[in-house]
């Protein structure tokens, strides 16, 4: 850690990991509810548990991004953070807001929560992933603005690097597109249309810029390759991300009542969305092959390479699988989507956060370069267990999705939704068992913070 103020990143990373555990717990609950419908009913119904699963995911990723920015920006700018106390204050505001929101989901019926939080004054609730009460959304805006102010001022007063500027561009985009969550038109088509401006333009647009810049930062640190080379890759990757991703939004507009041309534009542009992810994978391996030093934090390098590969598979390949309009006509909203969602979120955004945490946390906790060998071995086990189980979960859900698509929509004797669900329950069981393996991986991951904590750091290879 080169600058004192980088320390504000630590509570953000801790909160991220705590919420990650909550996300996985609720994931296991809804996974079981897929096959045992009344499990935990009526205390935690499926819709509530799913809301907690997806919302905690989004919030912990945001915690992670903010922590990453607070760690990365002072180091890149070569200056202390503009206001460390503002960062600490916003951490508590965000954590309390997130905690109260989750408690609200679990303790009060959703309609009651809407009434309690005065949703009728500015109705924004009730839309998938953006279920947060309006007051929470306003809190997110306040936190985001204070965060952007803090980061922006730091960048302005310090050294301006490409990594910093791309990250800032991504973070500004993140804040701007979140504003569409406040726009709630009565027309259902417009409602869905602009809903995607937050959802799609986040994960297939500006978040990719954040991902690219964090990956670039970690690769600069662990490989020692010239910054200029890495920055050029970053330029090419973000240019392709924006060229394909923005119009690629069209792949959500096929069947919601928007004009037919979206089937063409959405298909063509989103079919090319794997390109920037492919470039990222080539980039990461290229940089590691050209490395000028063997950084003792081997597991951070592993996470970085894992991010590049899994993002390409999950977001790129599994996205392409059902992005063309003639294919999506059959697969829309089936388990194929769930398969893609799981591997893309894990591969791109979970892994980039874990990459950053893996690189920064040892330094934030007083290590000079890396964790002890025992800690790294545990974390490596966690990496493989979580990654392999996500691959298996994705494959099981893909199997379920293919069968579902066929039995429900393609076969000459189509069957109703629930009848099909019962017949593919084997896949849901397999997914649930694999989820337990994932939980084991997550447990080892958390253990890696404590077991071997007192051991010495590994020797520097060169």
């Amino acid at each position: 850690m080169k600058y004192q103020s980088q320390a504000v990143a630590k509570p953000y990373f801790v909160a991220a990991i705590v919420l990650f555990v909550a996300q996985i717990t609720f994931g296991l609950i809804i996974g079981l509810q897929y096959v045992i419908g009344d499990f935990l009913f009526p205390e935690i119904p499926f819709n509530v548990a799913r809301m907690v699963h997806t919302n905690t995911l989004i919030v912990w990723l945001l915690f992670g991004f903010m922590g990453a920015a607070y760690y990365l920006v002072p180091e890149e700018s070569e200056t202390e953070l503009h206001s460390p106390w503002l960062a600490k204050l916003m951490f508590w505001v965000f954590l309390v807001a997130a905690g109260l929101t989750v408690a609200g989901y679990l303790l009060v019926p959703y309609s009651g929560l809407a009434k309690l939080t005065g949703n009728s004054l500015l109705p924004t609730m009730g839309r998938e992933f953006l279920e947060q009460p309006t007051i929470t959304k306003l809190g997110i805006v306040v936190v985001a603005l204070a965060f952007l102010f803090n980061i922006g001022m730091t960048v302005l007063k310090g050294r301006k690097t490409v990594v910093n500027l791309v990250l800032l561009l991504g973070l500004v985009g993140l804040a701007v597109f979140f504003l569409f969550s406040f726009y709630n038109p009565t027309n259902v088509v417009l409602d869905k249309y602009f809903w995607w401006w937050t959802v799609h333009l986040w994960v297939e647009g500006v978040w990719e810029l954040i991902l690219g810049s964090i990956l670039a930062f970690v690769l600069i640190k662990v490989t020692g390759v010239d910054r200029e080379v890495i920055e050029k890759w970053l330029y090419v990757i973000i240019a392709m991300t924006l060229i394909t991703g923005i119009i690629g939004t069209g792949h959500h507009f096929y069947w919601i009542g928007t004009p037919e041309y979206w089937q063409w534009l959405g298909s063509i542009f989103s079919a090319l969305e794997p390109i920037p992810f492919f470039m990222m994978a080539v980039f990461a391996f290229n940089m590691v092959n050209k490395r000028r030093r063997n950084h003792p934090n081997r597991v951070a390098t592993l996470w970085a390479l894992g991010t590049a590969v899994m993002a390409f598979l999950g977001a790129g390949v599994w996205g392409f699988l059902h992005t063309l309009a003639p294919v999506n006509y059959y697969t829309h909203g089936t388990q194929i989507t769930a398969a893609h969602g799981h591997m893309a979120f894990f591969g791109a955004y979970v892994m980039i956060n874990l990459t950053m945490i893996s690189y920064a946390m040892p330094l934030l906790r007083g290590r000079t370069l890396a964790n002890s060998s025992r800690q790294q071995t545990l974390e490596t086990w966690a990496f493989w267990l979580m990654t392999i189980s996500i691959v298996l979960i994705t494959l099981f859900l893909t199997g379920a999705g293919i069968l579902q698509t066929y039995m429900q929509r393609v076969s000459v004797t189509p069957q109703p939704f629930m009848a099909v669900q019962e017949q593919i329950s084997l896949f849901y069981w397999l997914r649930e068992y694999t989820g337990l393996v994932f939980l084991l991986g997550l447990t080892l991951y958390i253990a890696s913070f404590f077991v071997g904590r007192k051991d010495p750091e590994p020797a520097v290879a060169n």
Binding site: A239, M240, F269, I275, M279
Partner: protein, 193 residues
């Protein structure tokens, strides 16, 4: 040069290697777009033929000549800087940008004509392809102009010399790509029947 992407032992194309990765990716995007156009046309030949006649082929031919000329100017700019003549390079770059600007004017007039007639993406399949393909290319001309502008600015600031002018070659490579795409787009959308 340390800040240029290189593969050891392989003869490098002119300009920065990164721009070639970008150019390949861009060409792939256009190739898929062209393929979609061609395959759709196969099942709607009459519709495509009928509405192709509504396009202004003279304006498009003029634009083809304008872009080829601008590419020639860019070639002259590169050869000027290779000989160490920065002032001459700047003049050729500005001339190329002038031609790019002329392309934008002619194409805008074409778009204005169609919009005045009420043509939009939903009018029919042909117009959907015509508008989206030409507009996507139009945006690339603008991006190309921005790149040429940045390089012209740096030329004026004295950043390039006979020994060091990778930036000029990089911009030239991108501009030729924009030109090349139009050379396929023009016959495909305006002429071929």
């Amino acid at each position: 040069m340390s800040n240029t992407l290189t593969i050891e032992g392989v003869r490098q194309p002119p300009g920065d290697f990164a721009i070639w990765i970008f150019i390949m990716a861009e060409l792939l995007v256009f190739a898929i777009f062209f393929a979609a156009y061609a395959m759709t046309r196969m099942s709607h030949v009459e519709l495509f033929n009928e509405f192709q006649l509504q396009l202004n082929r003279r304006a498009a031919l003029a634009n083809t000549l304008v872009l080829i000329t601008s590419s020639y100017f860019v070639v002259r700019a590169v050869s000027a800087i290779s000989g160490g003549k920065a002032r001459s390079c700047l003049r050729w770059l500005l001339a190329a940008m002038g031609m790019g600007g002329l392309f934008i004017c002619i194409k805008s007039a074409e778009f204005a004509h169609h919009f005045a007639l009420g043509v939009n993406l939903s009018t029919n399949l042909f117009y959907m392809f015509y508008l989206s393909l030409t507009f996507f290319h139009f945006m690339h001309v603008i991006l190309g102009l921005v790149i040429l502008g940045a390089v012209a600015y740096k030329t004026r600031q004295g950043h390039y010399s006979a020994m060091n002018h990778t930036g000029v070659e990089t911009a030239a490579a991108y501009w030729h790509m924009v030109d090349l795409v139009w050379l396929i787009l023009f016959p495909l959308v305006y002429v071929m029947r």
